[in-house]
Symmetry: C2
Amino acid sequence: MTETAASSVPIPDAANWACPLPLRDSPNIVMGHGGGGAMTAELIDLLFLPAFGAAAAAEMGDSAVLAIGDSRIAFSTDSFVVKPMFFPGGCIGDLAVNGTVNDLAMAGATPLVLSTAFILQEGTPLSVIERIADAMGRAAEAAGVKLVTGDTKVIDNTSGGPGDVYVNTTGIGLVPDGMDIGPARARVGDAVLVSGDIGVHGVAVLSCREGLEFGTTVASDTAPLNGLVEAMIATGADIRALRDPTRGGMAASLNEIAKASGVGMHLVEADVPVPQSVKDACGLLGLDPFQVANEGKLVAIVAPGDADRVLDAMRAHPQGVGARLIGRCVSDHPTMVVAATGLGGTRVVDMPIGEQLPRIC
Amino acid sequence: MTETAASSVPIPDAANWACPLPLRDSPNIVMGHGGGGAMTAELIDLLFLPAFGAAAAAEMGDSAVLAIGDSRIAFSTDSFVVKPMFFPGGCIGDLAVNGTVNDLAMAGATPLVLSTAFILQEGTPLSVIERIADAMGRAAEAAGVKLVTGDTKVIDNTSGGPGDVYVNTTGIGLVPDGMDIGPARARVGDAVLVSGDIGVHGVAVLSCREGLEFGTTVASDTAPLNGLVEAMIATGADIRALRDPTRGGMAASLNEIAKASGVGMHLVEADVPVPQSVKDACGLLGLDPFQVANEGKLVAIVAPGDADRVLDAMRAHPQGVGARLIGRCVSDHPTMVVAATGLGGTRVVDMPIGEQLPRIC
């Protein structure tokens, strides 16, 4: 890096710089900072937000809700760096569209438009780019969103390996009048629901990256969830909070909600749908399926009396066929998520610290 | 790349794949595809738009204008990959904020909010990230926009070099009622204005990248232009088109407008403000200053009778002190930009093909 006296930004003395992030001693970025767990939260809370200063909105969440004239819109951004770019069930293209569509849907918004920004490494075959763009077009059509503006940058390929592609999508959705879904709204007694099998995306990517076989092929669950959310909202139930558990898995999503709402959560492990192939893979690799990424699943916190009709509506939708009640919000152990194990004991379902599976999305 | 039968995306046979881009024989991405010139346009028109299919909006421009309820918003995205990340006059952080603020301003919109998405290479010092974020916060405050949502991903560092940082910003601006600024609105007789010295940003980055000295230090002109645009609009003049000439320089911006409007443009080379240091650097390196990137300048096409009062308003604003009338829209040579040279001849001011200066923004 070239440092010049003319730079308008004060240059910290790196040697004497007090690193504000306590979880790691390293003064450098490590893979775990991108894992969506505690290290990512630390990076945002202790470095980005103080540095942004007064320009930062109070909460830099997965999506922001803004008033524009008489309307409210949701606004969300995500970059995708998944490796490999093509995996069973999908590729970086549909993942990028579905990921931002889902972030908007989790705010109860109807996704309208996406921007698409590509960073392409020199040497990437154009046929690969076309295939990714084709997947994006199909995914956008399936989700009912338009791709309205874009950007393309090219970076040099210093590694000499095959070209990497990074895709950013940023989306705008319309939040219906009266919609109030947010992580701080969970209350004691609320039901905790999941829309189907968890851990599938992470295992699908990992299996093709490491060349591992787990009996049957596991295909990513990448899918748009806006239709499912619409069906859930149409029941008129009080849906308190929604999250699509991507990086950090179900554990990260439920811990975020428990922390924001100040409630505890009590899950029944045996009620959480985990496919045998995911169990096998996680057993072999020492992973917790609750911490593995999903790309077409959601967790929902709903008012106690509304759980049954929401579950019925979910099961009637293609993306929610495997929906299950997996636990309750409780007054015990506030901000902590605990699961009853199959052996009659309980275990803490922790927020993951760093990154179990780097570059999973 | 791992190919699997379970992938949901059809796999083109790369060997028999007919590359749709005529400008280069290479079936792979080259640096020029990111240059903002003819090769970038080809990539968008012949690969991205057909692949996106029905999901693509008719025009994937620098920014899209959308109706939300009773309001109109502008929506724009840009990724920044500039190398080095710190250069005289600024860094990738303020560049990323100003770049998207300016794209929104060029639609006549008041920029409101930005998303910020980081792709960080493993090993990047946290002190560098903090410095970039600090610059983003200051630039956002200066431009009057809020940073409301974000994302962080980490990629492995296969090159072993110092960590690279890529920043995407995507912004939303409010388009005032009745505002109608667009590249297709130029008419014969219109005045062509530029807000000040051109070519500065490109030479600033290049000089510190290549370790070159051009007599005096050239500092980047990175700056927010929304205040200048507001002042121009406040005159009540008929402003037909605005562009901030970044990648591809003034030549690319004027060619885009000439093409979209079907008019010719006649410039007077001696009236275009080019600092001596930029002339020297371009002479040495064989570059055309008209094709070198700017990050704090705009070109404006205004109705014939309105040029003087717009120029007065520009010169009264800190970002427009050096504003000049540099030419006219003409009926001759439609869609072509031509300049009268100092030697009494004329030359065609071409759209750049590829990339003069890779990774300039």
